[in-house]
């Protein structure tokens, strides 16, 4: 994947420069240099910074940008190619595994020229494809082509074929989508409400799955036979997910094709992702680059010093000393620690007042997994004000008592370190609060009720306005989208960061449901006319205006 051809020139320049430097100095070649001390600090500084630049730039453009690739692919290639099927030209998925990159770049830029020049592979491809010549694209830069090639890798089957050596960043994203949307009803490797989903792409094809996930009800209604059999799996209809984009679903399919990847591999994929997203990600990569450089130079210094040691019979201490006083090593160390420091400091600053994972100890061990998971009680049964008001509210004890008048002991599956007695005591706490006499099954007369002091978890700063009804009733967003897989949590915790960036991201990507919503019909019609599209995101509707959230 490394774009060596792009760097060939640069490497050459650096090498030439180094060679010259070393040859003029006592004709010691680079690898056999006797002692680092023999070179002037200046020349070493120049070399090291050049080397640094080289490694850095190598890293920077090593990664193709699939988003740009997709754009280009759609505008230039899609006339004759599809990713996963033959059109005029061959299917391009996994083309980078069949052919080498340099060849591909040359081919895409000027395939007629290549055929004329007698390149064997080029002629073979030409003949395999009915001798239809491919249009030359001299306007594309090398980087553009790499982006396109990166995009051709991005399909689910390619990820499987590629095996575990390389993890597509889409898999991680898909996992996130899965966790927030599907995990309520599906597991990868076992039955939940819905069927297990690992390798589902082998059972159904991707295009069909897309339709099904977005709106399975419509698919069933359309009389699709596959959909009908699928719907018979369970009487519970699957939630439609019109809010998922094609990209989301592609990622999702990728994730379901490979499943959970071992953490080590996942870590490398995170490294590869670093340059896809700007911001903090750049710093760790820099740090890694410098770390590698540091290691390299340590090795070089150590080996050269050993030679010095052999000749001059110096002790081990002086080896360490030369190491420490070696300006090259020091220079790198300083940069390394500065960057590391900056990275930690920035990371620390960014997480101030972000409470992801906040999990206070509640006065009653109340398990959402027992109530909403095992017993399938709807979220709004308890959080009943979510549908009409700004807050979701915490249920008052009378709501609990609707059920717990009759459920006075716990007979379900045990969880955590709790015994049955522990959990019975938790239910008793509820009775103590409201004054319920469970042996006589009635309220104790004249009992002074005590409030249950739940500890609040989600709490926006007071200067930001957030409204549940707007999101739950009007937009139809599932609670789990924002609060995570609550029905699996025994102890409630905060799942989303609740930062402004988080709100805005969702408003940028989420399309407003223009069909069901009578209340806003006028505005919606005007908006879709104005933008000339069927799909209007919340952002286009004005969901990014400061005063919508701050006033």
């Amino acid at each position: 994947m490394l774009l060596l051809s792009n760097h060939a020139k640069m490497i050459k320049v650096i090498f030439l420069y180094m060679k010259k430097l070393y040859q003029t100095r006592k004709k010691i070649s680079f690898l056999n240099m006797k002692s680092v001390k023999q070179h002037s600090p200046l020349s070493r500084l120049v070399i090291s910074s050049l080397a640094f630049l080289f490694f850095f730039s190598l890293n920077l453009s090593a990664q193709g940008d699939p988003a740009n690739g997709e754009k280009l692919f759609k505008s230039i290639c899609a006339a004759c190619h599809k990713l996963d099927a033959k059109l005029v030209g061959p299917a391009l998925k996994g083309v980078t595994e069949r052919r080498d990159q340099a060849w591909l770049i040359a081919w895409i830029k000027d395939s007629p020229g290549m055929i004329k020049s007698g390149d064997k592979l080029a002629i073979q491809v030409f003949e395999e494809n009915n001798k239809l010549p491919m249009i030359a694209n001299p306007q594309l830069s090398d980087q553009d082509i790499i982006d396109i090639l990166e995009y051709t890798k991005g399909a689910p089957v390619a990820a499987v074929a590629a095996g575990t050596t390389e993890v597509d960043p889409g898999v991680e994203r898909g996992k996130q989508v899965f966790k927030t949307n599907c995990a309520a009803c599906h597991k990868l490797d076992g039955k939940l409400i819905g069927p297990p989903l690992l390798h589902i792409e082998k059972k159904y094809d991707a295009a069909w799955l897309k339709l099904w996930i977005k709106d399975n009800a419509a698919l069933i209604a359309s009389g699709d036979p596959l959909a009908k059999t699928a719907s018979e799996y369970s009487p519970i209809a699957m939630t439609p997910f019109p809010q998922l984009t094609d990209q989301d679903i592609d990622d999702l399919l990728k994730y379901m094709a490979v499943g959970d990847v071992a953490p080590v591999v996942a870590a490398t994929s995170a490294d590869q992702e670093i340059f896809n997203k700007p911001g903090i990600g750049i710093i760790p990569t820099l740090a890694i680059t410098i770390g590698v450089l540091l290691l390299l130079s340590l090795i070089v210094a150590a080996t050269t010093n050993r030679k010095v040691g052999e000749e001059d019979e110096e002790s081990g201490v002086s080896v360490l000393k030369t190491l420490i006083f070696n300006p090259f090593v020091r220079f790198l160390a300083v940069i390394f620690f500065l960057l590391l420091g900056a990275w930690f400091a920035f990371g620390y600053l960014m997480q101030i007042d972000v409470n992801v994972g906040y999990q206070p100890i509640q006065p009653i061990v109340f398990s959402h997994a027992v109530h909403s998971g095992d017993n399938k009680i709807d979220c709004q049964y308890c959080h009943s004000s979510a549908k009409n008001s700004k807050t979701s509210g915490i249920p008052s004890a009378n709501v609990c008592m609707n059920c717990h008048k009759s459920i006075s002991e716990y007979k379900g599956e045990l969880f955590g370190n709790n015994t049955k007695e522990d959990l019975d005591k938790e239910i008793q706490k509820l009775y103590d609060a409201v004054g319920w006499d469970k042996t006589n099954v009635k309220y104790i007369e004249g009992y002074e009720q005590k409030p249950i002091e739940w500890v609040r978890i989600h709490n926006l700063a007071d200067f930001a306005y957030y409204n549940h009804a707007q999101h739950v009733t009007v937009a139809g967003v599932q609670c789990q989208t924002c609060h995570g897989p609550v029905q699996e949590m025994h102890d409630m915790k905060q799942f989303s960061p609740l930062t402004m960036g988080w709100c805005i991201d969702c408003h940028r990507t989420t399309a407003v449901d223009l069909t069901k919503n009578g209340y806003y019909k006028n505005i919606h019609d005007q908006l879709s006319k104005k933008y000339g599209v069927e799909k209007v995101t919340v952002a286009e509707m004005g969901g990014l205006e400061c005063a919508k959230c701050h006033y």
């Binding site: 420490i324 160390a333 620690f337 590391l340 420091g341 930690f344 400091a345 990371g347 620390y348 997480q351 101030i352 007042d353 972000v354 409470n355 994972g357 906040y358 999990q359 206070p360 100890i361 095992d374 017993n375 399938k376 009680i377 709807d378 709004q380 049964y381 009943s384 009409n388 807050t391 915490i394 008052s396 009378n398 709501v399 008592m401 609707n402 059920c403 008048k405 009759s406 459920i407 007979k411 409030p451 739940w454 609040r456 700063a461 007071d462 200067f463 915790k493």
Partner: protein, 184 residues
Amino acid sequence: MKNILKISIALAFLFTLSSCWLDKTKPNYQYMPDMYKPVGYETYSVNPNFSDGRTSQQPVEGTIARGKVPYDYADTTEGYDSALVNLKNPLEVNEENLANGKAMFTIYCISCHGAAGVGDGELVKRDKFLGVPNYKDRPITEGSIYHVIMYGRNLMGSHASQLTDKERWQVVMYVQQLRNELLK
């Protein structure tokens, strides 16, 4: 040697910095939270100004909040019998009301009464909550259904606090529809 010392101090410092928020049962640090906390009392917060120490108070006796409809039938057997014959649904039977009635039924009633109203909800199936009747087995009218949602009956609790007046009537409408289907 000095360098190594310095470096390890710097590292230790950085480590403590990055790992400040270890105890997830306490909230994270805030920086100058001047405008983060509301000046007023929040709905569920403790409040020293009231004798019972809570901010959320009952409405003053004898007052009716805007949009609320007072309910004049008593929570007694006579009240039930009276509602059974006298109380009528003010809403018109139409698609919209039925649709929302169904949505509300699915949230609030389905765990016990089941989707079709035959009394086979999830809680019943799992043997957690028993004694839920089939709607067709009870001589209920729109008035009595509303009354039961308001006050509950025997083991069934009141669902008045979870539903608005209009939503209650929509649910009533939907329950009647279910019952008519069951009686067929």
